[in-house]
């Protein structure tokens, strides 16, 4: 970790977004993670995405569980709401918060231990209920805080730093999310911000359960030969299906690509995802094809990244429950309690 506070001096020509904020305004406290941790890159990507989307920090709630990854919510968006929940219980706390106040942007940050082991039940239900959130798993395949035991996402046959081979079958959270009905599913790599930042932006603008599995090497316990979650291994086996550009309703579309190589996805809030195909013809609107592709490539030893599935007509939990537009926490007594007259009228109608 670093003991110094980051100096507040910055260049006079620092870029500012539409709200007049600099990137620095979206940062949090200085990271206490190991130097070189992939998680810090993800925090930086979240800062960049929030800056790009002109998000007002006070409109964001960031929630997390326990673990290295869950510590990171302290390291970005220092002026947003935050909740550090019990181990693996972030999804239910977030679901509750989202039900109470549908106006905020919800960001759940978790790790492979928090989501694939102790909290896998919670993870599953948040996905299938379609909670309107961005669920980011910072996936490094090990329990870093307890000195590098294999986690539930560690690949079978991969080797730990001490030379032990993992014999358990890994859980693929992306496959689970697809199966459980998440409406925006992506995988990325902490060492590739060009891919990661647009994916986070797309997820933040998605109206429904958005899930991003981010491979995030643990430099201390899982960055050696034999690991399948090291910087080198991920770079070698990374097979991106597409690249996306997120275009907000008010932005002019300036990028031009050869016809046929581009797919346009208009999300619920009017934001547009421009998907550039890379290599094989891949259709991210087909859930079954996405699952097939994922398994096929996994069998070949490849790590599929990019926006794997997106549902243009996604619906969220509030739609399913048919709740009122106004956030529940703003409904005052006068609105909730129609008074004794209305009660009398109701009772009379039942007599």
């Amino acid at each position: 970790m670093t003991y110094l506070a980051k100096p507040k001096l910055f260049r006079p020509d620092t870029p500012k977004n539409a709200l007049g904020y600099t990137r620095r305004d979206y940062e949090g406290a200085i990271s206490t993670l190991c130097a070189g941790c992939g998680h810090d890159s993800i925090s930086a990507a979240i800062v960049q995405a929030s800056f790009d989307l002109d998000i007002e920090p006070h409109r964001v709630a960031k929630l997390s569980g326990i673990g290295c990854s869950s510590k990171t919510t302290d390291y970005f968006l220092g002026n947003s709401h935050g909740f550090n929940s019990v181990h693996g219980r972030m999804p239910s706390v977030l679901t509750g918060a989202a039900l109470a106040n549908r106006d905020l942007i919800y960001m759940g940050v978790s790790g492979d231990g928090d989501s694939a082991s102790i909290g896998i039940g919670q993870f599953a239900h948040a996905m299938r209920r379609g909670v309107n959130m961005t669920y980011i798993v910072e996936n490094n395949g090990v329990y870093g805080l307890t000195k590098g035991q294999f986690s539930a996402t560690a690949d079978k046959g991969s080797k730990s730093k001490r030379g032990v081979i993992n014999n358990d079958t890994p859980i693929d959270l992306v496959a689970l999310a697809l199966q459980l009905g998440a409406t925006y599913v992506a995988r990325s790599f902490s060492g590739d911000k060009e891919q990661l930042v647009p994916l986070i932006k797309g997820a933040l603008r998605h109206h429904g359960a958005a899930f991003i599995d981010v491979l995030s090497p643990c430099v201390t316990f899982n960055n050696h030969a034999g690991s399948t979650k090291s910087y080198d291994y991920v770079r070698e086996h990374n097979e991106a299906v597409n690249r996306i550009d997120v275009i907000l309703p008010h932005d002019p579309i300036s990028a031009s690509y050869p016809p046929g190589s581009l797919r346009r996805v208009v999300q619920h809030d009017g934001s547009i995802l421009l998907l550039r195909k890379l290599g094989a013809d891949y259709d991210p609107s087909d859930r079954i094809e996405a699952m097939n592709h994922l398994h096929e490539r996994h069998a070949l030893g490849e790590i599929v990244t990019g926006l794997l599935y997106v549902d243009e007509s996604a619906e969220d939990l509030h739609r399913h429950l048919n709740t009122v537009e106004k956030p529940l926490n703003q409904l005052r007594d006068a609105y909730l309690c129609p008074g004794s007259k209305a009660l009398d009228a109701l009772n009379a109608s039942l007599r």
Partner: protein
């Protein structure tokens, strides 16, 4: 001693330097104002203990070479110091009574007390330098007959330019040349001035004149300048100090005539002008057509420039002069067309400032040393450089990498009322140690370099993420113009080169824009493999006697 070695006059320069270093200070790129380098040098000089024991020892065995230095100003004294310690026998000639030259005669005592000049000149004279004061040199030819191995001319720019406009002769008694007037004040020949004074000119001499006049009885003192306020030659802080003392600075007024009656000055008539720029950006002052203004006054100080004058150098001895009356010199060696004669300071390349004179003194000393050894003057000794890692532990550096966010500290001053009463009272009190420490903490440690080793970088991007000024980017390679535009924050300062690594594993390169690096070392602290290191760079500019690199 570090301060003394290349600066030669830390106490003097710490008070009155033109500070070419401060506009260059990188703090000014990320903060409102640069580090107060000049005044920090002053306090370093103020707080030193007796340094006599640390001064270089003069060799008992002289090398037999005799050098004459004409003038006892900063350039000559620098030559004397650099060569005396090498065993040369130095003789300094000056028409004054003591050493210091223009530093003594033209800088008002409230900015630079005599005691400081005495102390710092004495360190040099104390190195066994022979002085011949009170000796006006009338002929270089005669000097050359004295059998010197080399002669150094450091006579400054002794003549003040005059304002040649109507009425100058008639009202001569109330019109003074700025630098001559300052010299009279400096040596106590003059101790008062009339109540209403106009100072013509916008340079630092004009500022010294008006502030001196204010202290000698001038109540209504104003500075009138041809150009606009921004284009004035005076340093911003000197203008500020003059205004602080209640002296108005009036701009865009060209003196037309000294108005007089019965041989007595009434005032100065000015024409109002405005600046116009042609396509090439050259300025011309065009009359606005408004009626001329008469400003009444009792005395005028003319401070519109200084000129060189070498009436004592004969035309036929081999020292050539150009059409502006300046000696023809080699810009590097400062050697004139007569091989054994060297020039330095204002006398060499025209009036500049003290620190330039010192720098030229160092250069001339190297030339003279090479010349006396019969070596090629163009073979200059290189500076000594050194680069050492500052890493002490995981997060420990042997320099202070915490960056102060404080604003520039103001130097404490005497209350204006009492300061204006006595021209010999130094206005600035100087930093106290506490303020000086806080000011020094604002330094961005330019001497600590970020050194990148591509071979061991794993491209985790941690340094790119942590950098507070976004000066590190990992991107695909390209030519410089292309790279500059694609960085995380575009690099607009073309004077600052980019630091580009060799290609990394993924085919990208690391590009660092040094322009606004704070040298906070966070990149190195966040680096898991030690690919970044903070290394201290030391440069010791070559002095006479240093060895020339063998090729």
């Amino acid at each position: 001693m570090i301060n003394w070695e290349s600066n030669v006059f830390p106490g003097i320069l710490g008070r009155v330097c033109d500070r070419p270093c401060e506009p260059a200070c990188r703090r000014g790129r990320v903060d409102k104002e640069p580090v107060a380098i000049c005044r920090l040098k002053r306090i370093a000089a103020d707080l030193k203990e007796d340094i006599h024991g640390r001064l270089p020892k003069v060799p008992a065995q002289k090398n037999g070479k005799k050098i004459a230095c004409i003038g006892a100003g900063p350039a000559s004294l620098t030559v004397a110091r650099d060569l005396a310690v090498l065993g040369y026998q130095i003789t300094v000639f000056d028409n004054g009574k003591s050493a210091g030259g223009m530093m003594r005669s033209q800088i008002p005592k409230f900015r630079l007390p005599d005691s400081v000049i005495d102390e710092e000149c004495d360190y040099i004279i104390g190195l066994g330098v022979e002085t011949r004061y009170g000796q006006q040199i009338e002929s270089l030819k005669k000097v050359l007959e004295g059998g010197w191995d080399a002669v150094f001319v450091g006579t400054g720019a002794p003549r003040g330019r005059d304002a040649d406009i109507p009425g100058r002769q008639e009202a001569a008694a109330q019109i003074h040349i700025g630098i001559d007037w300052l010299a009279k004040v400096a040596f106590g020949h003059l101790s008062n001035i009339s109540k209403r004074v106009i100072v013509l000119g916008g340079g630092n001499t004009a500022m010294d004149c008006c502030r001196s006049a204010r202290r000698l009885g001038g109540e209504d003192v104003k500075v009138v300048v041809r150009s606009g306020f921004e284009e004035m030659k005076a340093s911003p802080w000197e203008k500020e100090e003059a205004q602080h003392e209640g002296i108005p600075i009036l701009n865009f007024l060209v003196p037309k005539e000294f108005s007089h009656a019965k041989g007595k000055l009434i005032g100065v008539v000015f024409e109002k002008v405005r600046a116009e720029y042609d396509a090439k950006g050259r300025r011309s002052l065009v009359p606005t057509g408004e009626p001329d203004v008469l400003m009444e006054c009792d005395e005028v100080l003319v401070a519109i420039g200084q000129e060189n004058a070498f009436p004592w150098i004969e035309q036929d001895i081999g020292v050539q002069f150009d059409k502006w009356g300046m000696p023809v010199l080699d810009k590097t060696t400062l050697q004139s067309t007569l091989p054994k004669v060297f020039f330095g300071g204002d006398a060499a390349l025209g009036p500049k400032n003290i620190i330039t004179a010192v720098a030229q003194g160092h250069d001339a000393a190297i030339s003279i040393d090479q010349f006396c050894k019969g070596k090629n003057l163009m073979e200059r000794p290189p500076p000594l450089t050194n680069l050492v890692s500052q890493k002490m532990g995981i997060h420990e550096w042997s320099y202070d990498n915490q960056i102060s966010e404080e604003e520039r500290k103001k130097v404490p001053m005497k209350a204006l009322e009492s300061a204006l009463k006595n021209i010999n009272v130094e206005l600035e009190l100087g930093f106290d140690p506490r303020l000086a420490y806080a000011e020094a903490e604002r330094c961005l440690n330019c001497d600590i370099e970020t050194v990148f080793t591509p071979k061991i970088c794993i491209e985790c991007d941690a340094c790119e993420d942590i950098c507070p000024t976004e000066c590190i980017s990992f991107i695909g390679n390209g030519d410089e113009a292309d790279l500059r535009g694609r960085l995380k924050a575009p690099a607009a300062n073309l004077d600052q080169t980019l630091y580009v690594s060799t290609e990394l594993k993924t085919g990208r390169v690391m590009v660092k824009d040094e322009n606004i690096c704070l040298h906070c070392g966070l990149c190195a602290e966040r680096c898991p493999t030690g690919a970044w290191d903070m290394q201290k760079f030391l440069i010791q500019v070559a002095h006479a006697g240093a060895e020339v690199r063998r090729t």
